[in-house]
């Protein structure tokens, strides 16, 4: 599904990613952990196609295809979805209208017809129910005045609507209380299948109890310094990152 090879990226001549190797196969869940500032959000943004970051070396393959030349919207059309650490507010545009636009623009790009209004409505209702989102919430302006938790839940609602092949969740658990966490995790798990993959970026073991990863990676200073199975997450929770940092410098 996703193959990141020796990825180096910088912004304003400052190197942030310094040789990332990562392979995510269909059906897998990968967790990426690591201290603040290690480059987790940058890695997600680079995969999603943010132009501000310059890829100075290495490649990203999506389903065997090098996506270097694809714009952010084209990557989305190919099935990449990023749940943002900091979702943006769009006053005057409702959640419903925004999601409709996102879905129909994606369909248009693929040469498909727009989704019929009734099918759209049905899907919106279904997914809102799954994420326990109130109908009134959907007619509010996108993210405007939403609490941290509401923003994150809304991100996962959009993910559920768009049904991506590769979902990257960047600290989706921060700002969620335990009930919301369970709802969000349930939403993510519903999406999981043999055909798609999920990358979960988090600081906490907590989310990984609900979305159980096949692999856990530790990112430090722009590099993956350790990979393992879900037990690694538990170890990190217990011991913190210092021993990893030390290991990495040795």
């Amino acid at each position: 599904m996703l193959h990141v090879k020796n990825l180096h990226a910088s912004v304003e001549d400052k190197a942030i990613l310094k040789g990332i190797n990562l392979e995510v196969k269909a059906g897998e869940v990968h967790a990426i952990m690591g201290p603040n500032g290690s480059g987790k959000s940058t890695l997600s943004s680079v995969i999603a196609g943010k132009e501000e970051y310059e890829v100075t070396d290495g490649e990203i393959f999506l389903n065997g295809e090098n996506i270097e030349e694809l714009s952010a919207e084209e990557r989305a059309h190919e099935g990449v979805f990023l749940s943002f650490q900091y979702p943006v507010e769009i006053p005057g545009v409702s959640v419903t209208n925004f999601v409709k636009t996102a879905i129909n623009e994606t369909r248009k790009a693929k040469g498909e017809d727009e989704m019929p209004a009734s099918a759209m409505l049905k899907k919106i209702r279904e997914k809102a129910e799954l994420l326990e989102i109130d109908r009134k919430f959907l007619s509010r302006s996108l993210n405007e005045g939403f609490s941290g938790g509401e923003k994150k839940r809304n991100e996962i609602f959009q993910m559920a609507m768009l049904e991506p092949k590769l979902a990257i969740l960047d600290e989706t658990d921060s700002g969620l209380d335990i009930d919301a966490l369970r709802i969000v995790a349930n939403g993510v798990n519903k999406l999981r299948s043999e055909d798609n993959a999920v990358i979960v970026i988090t600081h906490y073991q907590r989310l990984l109890e609900y979305i159980v990863p096949d692999f856990v990676h530790v990112l430090h200073n722009g590099k993956i310094v350790k990979s393992g199975t879900k037990e690694l997450a538990l170890e990190l929770e217990e011991k913190g990152y210092d021993w990893i940092k030390q290991e990495a410098t040795v």
Partner: protein, 439 residues
């Protein structure tokens, strides 16, 4: 011949032709043409015209009083009206009243023509008390209009009337003459406790050159509510100088929303005078232009008495080589204690070549006032743009959504839903997008 000289010599012919019944009116005209003769057209040397040049516009050989009448079919111009709600309409074609397209009334209120009001005795009291009383007599373009004023909208709402139907004032130009100078003159008098909503539009129907120098006087008497909407979306050959003067009495509320999306050059001179306590004056605008279009908002709020408020909020989005000007002046007189004056002007430059000159001018002589002003010039937020694109929304549509989100709050105070819908459609059209839903 220079346009100024041509106008001066035409005035004599014009004066003979109009036969004003009242001597007062004659005096007003003569004084006005003298002012214009002295001052001439404003130039960039005038502080208020530093960033707006009329030079290119003044080179045309304008026809000043078109003789030919042009017929226009309703079906061809329907789209320029707000047509999904019932409204009164006062419609002009090349400056001449079109009874065919209009729907006026004398039933309890007067929604009719300036030409009748200026000449018929039954309107004399109102004309004597209000006509040319708010317009600045030392302003050369306003004076030019006053000298030639003969047609436009006349609206008088007597006290205690809530006018249910909005009133549309629409000026079409066909420019059967190669280039046309239009000078409509509107008078709106709203008496105590009355409420009226007015929509004004200038629309050229051909690609001929047209320059409109319009003057509108609005009087909001005690506790009156006047909501005025200006839709400026004319074609590339049409230019507009809009001079609007609003005189408010105690506890009245007046609002003007100006939507500037098209035209070659637009200059809005908008002035509010607060002549009583507890007055609320609101002026808001959305400007979205491109090409080499130019829009200049020049506003004044004159706080004369205590306990009044003013709210200004102008948003501008400038693409290509378009240019914008915002010059907002707030004067708070010594007597005007407890004034609350708010002013904001926020702009987005979409392209490097676009420019905006924004200048707040506060002249505050009272000591117990709350005045805030802020102006910003920026670009669309890159992170926000990436957010939308990462959801599969193409760059152009994503920019449109962000632009809309930026300007959106100006629409919150629009009280007529059909206008909101129409403005949203015009914004989508202006930004060249079809988002599959009405913004």
């Amino acid at each position: 011949m220079e346009l100024k000289d041509k106008l001066l010599s035409s005035f004599m012919v014009f004066e003979d032709r109009v036969h004003d019944q009242s001597k007062d009116l004659n005096d007003i005209r003569n004084a006005a043409i003298k002012t214009f003769e002295q001052k001439g057209f404003p130039t960039k040397k005038d502080e208020d015209w530093k960033y707006t040049s009329l030079n290119a516009l003044l080179k045309h050989d304008y026809s000043i009083s078109p003789q030919q009448e042009t017929a226009v079919e309703f079906k061809d111009v329907k789209k320029f009206f707000i047509h999904d709600i019932d409204t009164y309409k006062i419609v002009f074609i090349d400056g001449k009243y079109s009874s065919f397209l209009s729907e006026t009334t004398h039933d309890g209120i007067d929604v009719c023509l300036m030409s009748s009001a200026l000449n018929k005795p039954k309107y004399k009291i109102i004309i004597d008390s209000y006509y040319n009383k708010a317009a600045k007599s030392d302003h050369s373009l306003t004076s030019l209009n006053t000298a030639f004023a003969s047609e436009g909208a006349y609206i008088h709402i007597p006290k205690n009337k809530v006018v249910e139907k909005p009133i549309q004032i629409v000026h079409f130009s066909t420019g059967n003459e190669a280039s046309l100078l239009l000078q409509p003159r509107n008078l709106i008098v709203v008496d105590e406790n009355s409420h009226v909503q007015i929509i004004e539009r200038h629309q050229s129907l051909t690609s001929n050159v047209v320059l409109t120098n319009s003057v509108t006087e609005i009087f909001a008497n005690k506790r009156a509510i006047v909501d005025y909407y200006k839709i400026q979306n004319d074609n590339q050959q049409a230019s507009l100088i809009d001079n609007t003067y609003i005189s408010q009495k105690q506890s009245s509320h007046a609002s003007v929303h100006t939507f500037s999306f098209g035209g070659k050059l637009i200059r809005n001179n908008l002035q509010f005078f607060q002549k009583g306590e507890h007055i609320d004056s609101t002026m808001k605008g959305i400007t979205i232009i491109g090409n080499k279009q130019h829009v200049d908002h020049n506003t004044l709020v004159h706080h004369i008495e205590p306990n009044c408020e003013s709210h200004q909020d102008y948003k501008g989005i400038f693409a290509d080589r378009s240019t914008g000007v915002f010059n907002g002046k707030v004067v708070v007189e010594k007597e005007a204690q407890k004034t609350n004056a708010f002013q904001a002007n926020n702009n987005i430059l979409v392209d490097d070549k676009a420019t905006i000159n924004t200048k707040p001018q506060l002249e505050i002589f009272a000591d117990d006032v709350k005045c805030s002003h802020g102006c910003t010039i920026g670009q669309l937020d890159k992170d926000a743009l990436f957010y939308l694109r990462s959801r599969g929304i193409p760059t152009k549509e994503a920019k449109a959504l962000l632009t809309y989100a930026f300007a959106n709050n100006v629409l919150e105070s629009v009280k007529i839903n059909s206008i909101k819908t129409r403005i949203n459609k015009l914004i989508a059209q202006k930004l060249g997008v079809n988002l599959g839903f009405d913004l």
